[in-house]
Amino acid sequence: MSATTPTAPALLTLKSVSKAFGANQALTSVDFEVDAGEVVALVGDNGAGKSTLVKAIAGVQLCDEGAFYFRGEMVKISSPQDATALGIATVYQDLALCDNLDVVANLYLGRELFTRGPSRAAYLIDETAMEQSALELLDSLAVTTIRNVREHVGMLSGGQRQAVAIARSLLGEPSVVLLDEPTAALGVSQTEQVLELIHTLRQRGLGVVVISHNLENVFAVADRIIVLRLGRRAATFDVRGVSREDVVSAITGAEFGVGAGLSKESA
């Protein structure tokens, strides 16, 4: 099961994490690890514990038991600020963008740059510097679909919005990025763009965790697949040399591949 016990410490490792909501055991002694330059897909049926695990990593929801190791050192994540300080960025499904602000303003929301020199006293925002580095950032991520960074985010397509949200998470120079359902509700070509972006993140040496229901996307983008079922880690697959049927049966709990008739891809 834990086939990948790394010799060098992984970027982020969780050991026997448990979490209960009243009588409902959401996570039972789950191990988890993601390495630098690796895309790990976290899959499982509804209620398998994916969200709970991600919220624990993001510091939004504390777990009852378990240990966190970051670059081999034991750490405590008890608030979102802790996670951010360690270099863990989370992009939630709702993206948390302000539709009435443009791309630049959204990227720098809460960390606007001020002009230097005497105009600093006037609390003037340095729009030029922000726009320049916004363009650089989008460029470095090979995001070519956003042509006008002064366009309001409300006018952008789903894929472009996802790109803005991911780009924003990178401003804090994180080493781990958690993406919650990044391709849900996206069309074919927009999904393609987002997957492309995830590839770029991996090339930059980031550890990427993707939660997804869509196995097709998971196979397109992930290096490893971790399957959660009923709050336990049910299986781990290297994406090469595993069939979709194997993953589906791990998700559903069917011990043997149920046969050729299996065509359901998303729960």
């Binding site: 302000c98 929301l109 006037a122 609390y123 925002i125 320049q132 006008n148 409300g154």
Partner: protein
């Protein structure tokens, strides 16, 4: 759906320009342009009904009448940007003006000091509003509606038996009764145009130096030309009468200051963020409750300032100061001129433009000596229409991403 949708870059073809204007109009973003058309229509109509409407004397009166409303509206814009509302601005303006008048006339306090105290009282009331809204999560319209009743009561109490206090001749009454000689009026206009042009060109050069896209020079020159023409026309007309009023300069300066605050500073950016998506703002580390409290304080302080200007214009304070349709005018003006009732969208300048629109209608109907019944019905109909347009264009805007 199609993510290759053409985003309107700065293509300068005339067709593209017309198309842009059409899109902006239908999405309620053309703001100033639409409002100027509206003003032109209203002015033409009333001028045909009564040729004294566009006389320098009447237009100067219009400015003097609307200075107080415009000032209160600036505060209303700030609060609307958060997606909140303050229904107590009328009552607060009346109360603060009354306190000021009592201090000056009955207690012999220096007029300047009395004005400062009135503004301070406004700030405290705003702090109270903001505290109730953020601490106890009471909707702002409830807090401010209940509050307005209390402030009116306090106003009656402060004014005492007589109910009316005449201000006499002092700093306060000078605010709306001071006019600049023609030459100074022209100097102000030239300075304003030079500064507008200078900052626009400077910003443009700065962007170009940084290697960023700059808009067409033609567009900028057109904009400056329109603004410049407006300044020149304003001073020209005012000079035909008593000259450029001090209060017009004051209101412009206030609008400029708050336009700077909302559009150029971090605090202003955070106001827009809170109004657009409060949860996103919170997650971005913005202290949204601080922003809310601050804005309610600014809103009430500006309401107090409007009350001072209204008292200055009336040369007195009485029991109906801040009452009647002042509140509705102050909120309706910015909304007519393009500030959203639903938060996150609008400009401080809409307060000034809106005050001109609303004021023109009220002033014109007064000139025509229409019955109160008609005036109320017309004003109500205009307000409903404005809010409906806002609501419809908002729907179009939001569907813009999906089309």
């Amino acid at each position: 759906m199609s993510d290759d949708r053409e985003t309107p870059l700065r293509t300068n073809g005339p067709i593209q320009m017309v198309r842009d204007v059409g899109r902006k109009l239908s999405q309620g973003e053309a703001g100033p342009l639409l409002v100027l058309l509206m003003v032109a229509a209203i002015w033409t109509f009333f001028q045909f009904q009564n040729d004294r409407f566009l006389s320098p004397g009447n237009l100067t009166n219009l400015m003097l009448q609307q200075a107080a409303v415009a000032t209160i509206s600036i505060g209303v814009v700030l609060i609307l940007l958060l997606g909140e509302i303050d229904l107590s601005v009328g009552a607060v303006s009346g109360l603060c003006a009354s306190v000021m008048a009592v201090l000056i006339v009955n207690r012999g306090v220096q007029p300047v000091l009395a004005v400062v105290i009135a503004l301070g009282l406004g700030a405290i009331i705003g702090l109270f509003n903001g505290f109730m809204i953020t601490r106890f999560r009471i909707p702002s319209f409830v807090v401010t509606l209940a509050g307005s009743l209390a402030w009116v009561g306090l106003q009656l109490y402060v004014l005492g038996q007589t109910g009316t206090i005449n201000l006499g001749d002092n700093f306060v009454t000078a605010l709306t009764n001071t006019f600049f000689p023609p030459l100074i009026g022209w100097a102000v206009a030239v300075l304003a145009i030079a500064l507008t042009l200078g900052f626009a060109l400077l910003g443009r050069a700065h962007r170009r130096a940084a290697g960023l896209q700059v808009g067409a020079l033609r567009g900028l020159i057109f904009r400056i030309a329109v603004i410049g023409a407006a300044f020149v026309a304003l001073v020209f007309v005012m000079n035909q009468d008593r000259g450029l009023p001090l209060v017009v300069v004051i209101v412009f300066a206030l609008a400029l200051a708050f336009a700077y605050l909302t559009e150029r500073t971090r605090f202003g950016r955070h106001m827009f963020a809170v109004g657009g998506n409060a949860e996103a703002a919170r997650r971005a580390g913005i202290k949204i409750d601080h922003v809310r409290i601050m804005v309610f304080m600014l809103g009430s302080t500006l309401a107090a300032a409007g009350g001072v200007l209204a008292a200055s214009r009336l040369l007195a304070v009485n029991q109906s100061s801040g009452a009647s349709d002042l509140l509705l005018m102050a909120i309706a003006g910015p909304v007519i001129a393009g500030t959203s009732l639903f938060g996150g969208r609008g400009t401080v300048w809409s307060a000034l433009l809106g005050a001109v629109v609303i004021g023109s209608i009220a002033n014109g109907m007064n000139l025509l000596a229409l019955a109160s019944s008609v005036k109320f019905i017309v004003t109500g109909a205009v307000l409903i229409t404005a809010v409906t347009i806002e609501s419809v264009t908002r729907g179009r805007r939001n569907s813009g991403a999906i089309e």
